[in-house]
């Protein structure tokens, strides 16, 4: 077993907090791991990445070779595209769709989301939306790692234990917010993946997820939603046009 992850984002978005959670889970599980990160000048609002590797055998290079990355986990949609040449065939991109715009030539949102949706193996989550629902917009990094967590080789409870350790110093409230963000991200990521596997278009799944009550998102309903939308072409527009949020388990009713 060997897992190679490129964590991507913009300086200040908290990718090293994601690394903290995975590093500790890897050590806890008895794996070898190495995690290279960026310090110094590049942290000042620039593109940052961290190469995180864990395996059940010795790891040599701190950097992931091109063609060996299993996962690009990005807290920012433009940054998700920056490292895709490292992905092995079959590798995944898990990305936030919340843009961090601090450059003049930032691409149009539709163009960017279209490029991401064109990737074969991609999970897209609206991290700002879910982090707000969890209680703090800064918890987007935990939404992202939650969305990627089913691809990691650790129990959800172990990962949540290290989210707790990471924020313990900052008080119970922040621990709860960040754990909630993780859970919302995990549910949304799974829902996205299952609905897309069942035939729903990626950008439609993303739109639907924004409309669902975040706490109600249940990956087990993803197939039913995909099937209902396939059966009734106007369903998605009706759902998106309805008042307020929609409960995930309302799918039979709407249908």
């Amino acid at each position: 077993m060997e897992k190679n992850i490129i964590l991507a984002g913009v300086g200040g978005q908290g990718i090293l907090s994601i690394a903290f959670v995975i590093d500790h889970a890897a050590m806890d599980a008895g794996y070898h791991f190495k995690q290279a990160e960026v310090h110094g000048m590049a942290q000042r609002g620039g593109a940052v990445q961290s190469n995180l590797r864990y395996a059940d055998r010795e790891i040599f290079s701190d950097l992931i070779p091109a063609g060996k990355a299993d996962l690009v986990l990005s807290v920012e949609p433009l940054e998700a595209l920056r490292y895709r040449q490292y992905l092995r065939p079959g590798g995944w991109v898990v990305t936030s769709t919340t843009p961090f715009v601090n450059i003049p030539d930032y691409p149009e949102s539709d163009t960017l989301l279209g490029k991401l949706a064109a990737l074969e193996h991609v999970i897209m989550v609206d991290t700002a939306h879910l982090a707000r629902a969890a209680g703090n917009r800064r918890a987007q990094n935990m939404v992202a790692v939650g969305a990627a967590s089913p691809m990691l080789d650790f129990e959800e409870t172990r990962l949540l234990a290290f989210v707790e350790r990471l924020f313990a110093r900052k008080g119970e409230k922040l621990v709860a917010v960040n754990q909630r963000a993780f859970r919302l991200g995990r549910a949304a990521g799974l829902f996205f993946r299952h609905s897309v596997a069942a035939g729903l278009a990626k950008l439609d799944s993303l739109r639907l997820l924004r409309k669902l009550d975040p706490d109600s998102i249940d990956p087990a309903q993803a197939e039913a939603w995909a099937a209902a939308i396939e059966d009734d072409a106007a369903l998605l527009d009706r759902v998106l046009g309805s008042e307020g949020t929609v409960a995930c388990d309302d799918v039979p009713l709407v249908a």
Binding site: V10, G11, A19, D23, H24, M27, H32, F33, K34, Q35, A36, E37, V38, H39, G40, M41, A42, Q43, R44, G45, G46, A47, F60, S61, D62, L63, I64, P65, A66, G67, K68, L78, E79, L81, R82, R84, Q85, Y86, L87, R88, P89, G90, G91, N102, I103, D105, Y106, P107, K115, L119, E120, H121
Partner: protein, 527 residues
């Protein structure tokens, strides 16, 4: 034995503490900063380790040497270009020799992630005739600090531990040992050893050269220099480069491999490798030091040597597993997709609300009306003012160089000669050139952007900020009439431009201090 998750830098720091460290010295500089910071934080609540940032690397080195003179173990850490600043003390400390163990941890920056150059500190170790250890992973960062102190006390010379960015800033779990006691206070009063007047220095230097065979012998015998003889194609992999090599090889590969992690280069081991192979690839993260030494001026008969000098490895830049794969003539691994060619870059930038933005906006406006004015700048966050949208500064060379270069340009008749420098860089290297310029009455304008911290490296303590800075500036002889303090906030823009214009109009040395704390530092202090 415990396990801790540590950066390479932190592993060096913890190794030093556990090896009986009494004092750590340094000046912040990426990628070395976290060595000092780790020790400072770990020993804050006890442990009796002196940990206080120094004014610059030369001061740090001299303090470390004094600690060694007193019999205790000291660690001095800096980035590669910091060793240029410390070079006077460093070179001569090899001549005096040491008493308590003295270890120099220097972090090079191949690929220039956060630096002006990618100079290779191994040359400095060779130049000074001292041993250099080059850890290949974070565990070795920890372990080699013990070896370095032992070596220093056995040979009575300083020992360099050379890191590179990729090892300094990568984390893994490190096994730690039982801490060793600190040394007793035991000053070395051999006056002729420490007093390098020529009559003594000649004796000391001869003594240093006489130690060289033992340095070589220790490198030959060191398990850090491992020779694994297999087939007729050979690789020498130095330090971290070994990781990129083994990343690309199967365990049952047929290469003969020499890994070098302790210098001087062990000639017998190199000879044994050369006797086995007819094709030799040399991998080192930095300059082609080993490659050039092994090849010599004219190459070796019967062995084809490949590396940075022959183009199989790029002449400049950081190594990575892909470069090494190509140099091994292995096929690239298949990938899911090609690089996105048209992706917008996201360069680093000054933070939102940064005082430097207001300072340089004011400077830009004050300089309007001059024909394409050039501003000499320095090392710090404000070097980012070189980029759009500000494009306010036009040089960045060495710590303190802004003032010296502006003075030189003024000597040549260039006007306005403007230098921009931060408060910490000013204390590091700006005081002496200012003193020179003021004493010479040079027509130059210095803008000191005083944000009260060392911003770029993570908001360490600045030595000269606030009233201390003001007193130093006035102490160089700047006239009180031409020493001005402004507060760089948007609301003050017009009056700040006016102050700068007045000083630009003055024919003589003037200093304007733009004073407002770094917003990052304020955020950190609030936490």
């Amino acid at each position: 034995m415990n396990k801790e998750i540590l950066l390479g830098d932190e592993a060096v720091g913890l190794g030093a503490i556990h090896a009986g460290l009494s004092g750590v010295y340094g000046y912040p500089g990426t990628p070395s900063t976290e060595i000092f910071e780790f020790i400072e934080q770990r020993t804050r609540k006890g442990g009796n380790v002196h940990a206080f940032w120094s004014t610059n690397e030369k001061v740090a080195y001299e303090e470390a040497l004094g600690m060694s003179w007193a019999g205790k173990r000291s660690l001095v850490c800096m980035k590669h270009v910091g060793l240029n600043v410390a070079a006077d003390a460093f070179m001569n400390s090899a001549i005096t020799g040491t008493n308590g163990g003295l270890v120099l941890a220097v972090a090079d920056d191949p690929g220039m992630h956060s630096s002006q150059n990618e100079q290779d500190s191994r040359y400095f170790a060779e130049f000074a005739l001292i041993p250099c250890l080059e850890p290949g992973d974070q565990q070795e960062c920890y372990d080699m600090i013990f070896d370095a102190f032992e070596l220093s006390e056995a040979l009575r010379v300083p020992v360099m531990v050379r890191l590179v960015t990729r090892i300094a800033h990568s984390r893994t779990a490190v096994d730690t040992r039982e801490p060793r006691e600190q040394n007793e206070l035991k000053p070395d009063k051999q006056i002729r050893k420490w007093t390098l007047i020529p009559v003594n220095a000649r004796v000391q230097y001869a003594g240093l050269t006489e130690k060289q065979p033992e340095l070589v012998q220790r490198a030959e015998e060191s398990p850090a220099n491992a020779l694994d003889l297999r087939g007729g194609t050979g690789v020498i992999a130095c330090g971290l480069a070994g990781n990129y090599l083994f990343e690309n090889l199967e365990p049952d590969h047929d290469y003969s491999v020499l890994t070098i992690r302790q210098y001087p280069i062990p000639p017998e081991k190199v000879r044994a490798l050369l006797d086995r192979v007819d094709d030799l690839l040399i991998l080192e993260d930095g300059y082609p030091l080993v490659e050039n030494r092994v090849r010599g001026l004219f190459g070796l008969e019967g062995v084809h040597i490949r590396g940075r000098m022959t183009g199989e490895v790029p002449r400049t830049g950081e190594l990575n597993p892909d470069i090494v794969r190509k140099a091994l003539r292995l096929e690239p691994l298949p990938t899911a997709c090609d690089a996105a060619g048209d992706l917008s870059n996201r360069p680093p930038a000054l933070c939102k609300g940064c005082p430097h933005t207001d300072s340089f906006r004011a400077l830009n406006d004050a300089l309007e009306g001059f024909d394409d004015p050039q501003v000499f700048s320095d090392i710090g966050c404000y070097a980012l003012a070189a980029l759009p949208p500000l494009e306010a500064v036009h040089s960045c060379v060495a710590m303190g160089a802004s003032i010296g270069m502006a003075a030189g340009a003024a000597h040549a008749g260039y006007s306005p000669a403007v230098a921009a420098i931060g408060d910490s860089t000013f204390s590091h290297g700006g005081i002496t050139p200012l003193m020179s310029a003021v004493q010479q009455g040079v027509n130059l304008n210095v803008l000191v952007v005083d944000n009260s911290t060392v911003g770029m490296t993570g908001t360490q303590r600045s030595m000269s900020t606030g009233t201390t800075l003001d007193k130093i500036i006035l102490g160089t002889g700047v006239s009180e009439d031409h020493f001005r303090v402004i507060e760089p906030i948007p609301r003050n823009h017009e009056q700040n431009v006016a102050v700068l214009q007045e000083e630009l109009a003055f024919d003589g040395p003037s200093v304007v201090v733009a004073r407002r704390p770094c917003i990052e530092a304020q955020k950190k202090r609030a936490h």
